[in-house]
């Protein structure tokens, strides 16, 4: 290894990308290209970094599989941080195999973590879990161990399992502390904070209170009937009736649940369902039709009973009726309801599912993104949207592990 490369590598490891660039700025050999790429990534110029690493990978070629594989991992990380999830994951998986076969266990684990994060962000929790299952976090250095635990916590939070989420976050905090990387500590703290922040309002009769994710978990497991306005479903235990794409039916269910155990008069139901200011005979006919539909859909969980004034919700097995709602009444609730399941959606799929125009969906998404409630990745037609509660990619770059001979 020549001395300039060594000097550049140690400058990068010490967090001085400019000094590293000074050493190798004009060189076009593969190790220099790789180092320049990593330096540019550290400086925040991701497109340029991507370009340099691609060239480095090409020059290293198949004759230097280890160096080539490290470049692939670095490219993948930059692609994911730039929210380009369309990046070919197959290459990343084969790079992982190459790294493992050539004794670079640490970068092999890193490649595995990158794949798991991508799966988590796409809502593919089983895949993410399977990938993590192949890694034993115990012998890893603190940075990698913290990353591992953060992904585990993300999966648990998506599955609404707050106890394992809390445990994973505690382990992540410990590892982050050992790593002495401030950005990592901050990221763990932010994720832990999410568990202590109210995620919903719980309404039962006249009582209303803000609740945490762990309370939501308890409520959903309690076997009572829950009309969940965050996800726009009616559920009892594992049985779920999706009403996200049936706005009128959901509005009726929500109004009936809000009044339970009392009934709701026809005028109030009409207001809730059709925003009708004045009610005429045609509205009443439509209400009868919609109540009939709702009754049919809710049949496994509840009856919708006619009363002299209107209608009342009568859950089967005499269970209580609860309402879950967003902490703040949400104008774009329908869009958020679809994203609340952790899946990654295209705006066209959302429009299809909601039965509204793609422009309307896009407007909602833009507003929600501005408020930090949703995030996107990918470009143009490949763009996908998720709720911001899904842990995304951080800007923590572990690229110095890629250093030649490292």
């Amino acid at each position: 290894m020549d001395s300039l490369i060594t000097a550049a590598a140690s400058a990068l490891a010490a967090g001085d990308p400019l000094r590293a660039l000074n050493c190798v700025a004009l060189r076009e050999d593969a190790p220099a290209l790789a180092l320049r790429g990593i330096a540019m990534a550290q400086l925040g110029d991701l497109p340029q970094a991507q370009h340099l690493l691609k060239r480095a990978a090409r020059v290293f070629g198949p004759k230097q599989p280890l160096a080539h594989a490290r470049c692939v991992v670095a490219q993948a990380e930059i692609a994911f941080v730039s929210r380009e999830l369309g990046w070919p994951v197959k290459e990343l998986a084969s790079a992982q195999v190459t790294l493992k076969q050539n004794g670079d266990a640490l970068n092999a684990v890193h490649a595995c973590h990158l794949q798991a994060r991508r799966s988590l962000l796409l809502g593919q929790l089983d895949d993410a879990e399977r990938l993590l299952g192949t890694v034993d976090p115990a012998p890893l250095p603190p940075i990698r161990r913290a990353a591992h635990e953060m992904i585990l916590a993300g999966i648990a939070m998506q599955r609404l399992r707050t106890v394992p989420a809390r445990e994973a976050l505690a382990r992540a905090r410990e590892a982050a502390h050992l790593s002495r990387v401030p950005a990592l500590k901050a990221e763990v703290a932010a994720a832990a904070q999410r568990l202590e922040t109210p995620v919903a309002r719980h309404i039962i009769g006249d009582h209303e209170r803000l609740i945490l994710l762990s309370d939501v978990e308890v409520l959903l497991a309690s076997g009572t009937l829950v009309v969940d306005a965050c996800r726009r479903v009616v559920r009892r235990g594992k049985v779920v009736i999706p009403l996200a794409s049936r706005a009128v039916l959901f509005a009726l269910a929500r109004a009936l649940a809000g009044a339970w155990p009392n009934d709701v008069c026809r005028t109030d139901l009409l207001r809730a369902a059709f925003q009708a200011k004045r009610v005429d005979e045609s509205h009443r006919a439509r209400l009868r039709v919609e109540i009939g539909r709702l009754r049919q859909l809710l049949r496994p969980l509840a009856d919708v009973q006619a009363t002299p004034q209107g209608f009342a919700l009568r859950p089967r097995n005499d269970v209580a009726v609860n309402v879950l709602a967003w902490p703040v009444e949400e104008e774009h609730g329908a869009v958020l309801a679809f994203l609340a399941d952790g899946e990654a959606w295209s705006s066209s799929a959302l429009a299809l599912a909601l039965g509204i125009s793609q422009r309307t969906v896009q407007r909602s998404l833009d507003v929600l993104a501005e408020e930090g409630k949703v995030q996107w990745f990918g470009r143009a037609r490949a763009r996908r949207w998720t709720a911001s509660s899904v842990p995304g990619f951080t800007t923590i770059m572990l690229l110095p592990t890629l250093l030649p001979g490292g």
Partner: protein, 214 residues
């Protein structure tokens, strides 16, 4: 005897369903078509194709219905599920950990297809013990019984629906699917329709069951 071969008559197509990219096992309880999509068992109205409710249970392979309970193959096990509550009532081992594909209920037994194994096993629904094995020459996907006939789906390069002799495994009749269209789960409605899972296409297709020619 050469089997009669004809193109499958696809008379309906539902999906794909956003958020449910995969259709695995398919079954029918007389009112709704149940289909498995990894995280959920979805109940679909066969008239409109709408998902009217779903159960949050793991649902990775074949699905069956015995008139009262749902059975779902998932990662080496067969769960017996109460369709009213989604509760898993009991669990038996599947004959293989990762090769199980289609599942059917008939004559008090469970019938399970093995994809790579190219086999159909008859299982004791209480213990999971293998009572009998039928060998196929193709990758077996969905399995169903219709009026005493045993049908299964195949899916490797192309895909077809096959009626086989339940004793010898001999192929009696086959319906070939159009190129690029595969069959994952399979279920008959007891009348003249098959419901076919479309795997990664995320679709559920309806295929006309041919009239009996016996």
């Amino acid at each position: 005897m050469n089997p009669t071969t004809s193109p499958a008559d696809i008379i309906g197509e539902f999906g794909p369903y956003p958020g449910n990219a995969q259709v695995n096992g398919v079954t029918y309880d007389g009112q709704v078509v149940w289909w498995a999509s990894n995280k959920r068992l979805n109940a679909m109205d066969p008239a409109s194709g709408e998902i009217v409710r779903f159960l949050e249970v793991p649902a990775h392979a074949g699905t069956a219905y015995d008139g009262k309970h749902l059975y779902q193959v998932t990662e080496g096990h067969i769960h017996k599920i109460n369709p009213e509550t989604g509760d898993i009532l009991s669990t038996i081992p599947a004959p293989s950990a990762d090769d199980s594909s289609g599942l059917a209920w008939a004559e008090g037994s469970l019938w399970i297809g093995q994809y790579e194994g190219r086999k159909i096993h008859q299982l004791d629904p209480q213990t999971g013990a293998i009572l009998r094995t039928i060998t196929s020459n193709r990758m077996v996907t969905g399995v169903t019984w219709a009026d005493g006939d045993l049908w299964h789906g195949t899916w490797d390069d192309d895909s077809e629906l096959r009626r086989i002799d339940p004793h010898s495994g001999e192929v009696l009749e086959s319906l070939t699917m159009p190129e690029g269209i595969g069959i994952s789960g399979l279920e008959s409605d007891g009348q003249d329709r098959f419901f076919c899972g479309g795997g990664g296409s995320g679709k559920v297709r309806v295929v006309r069951r041919p009239n009996k020619k016996r």
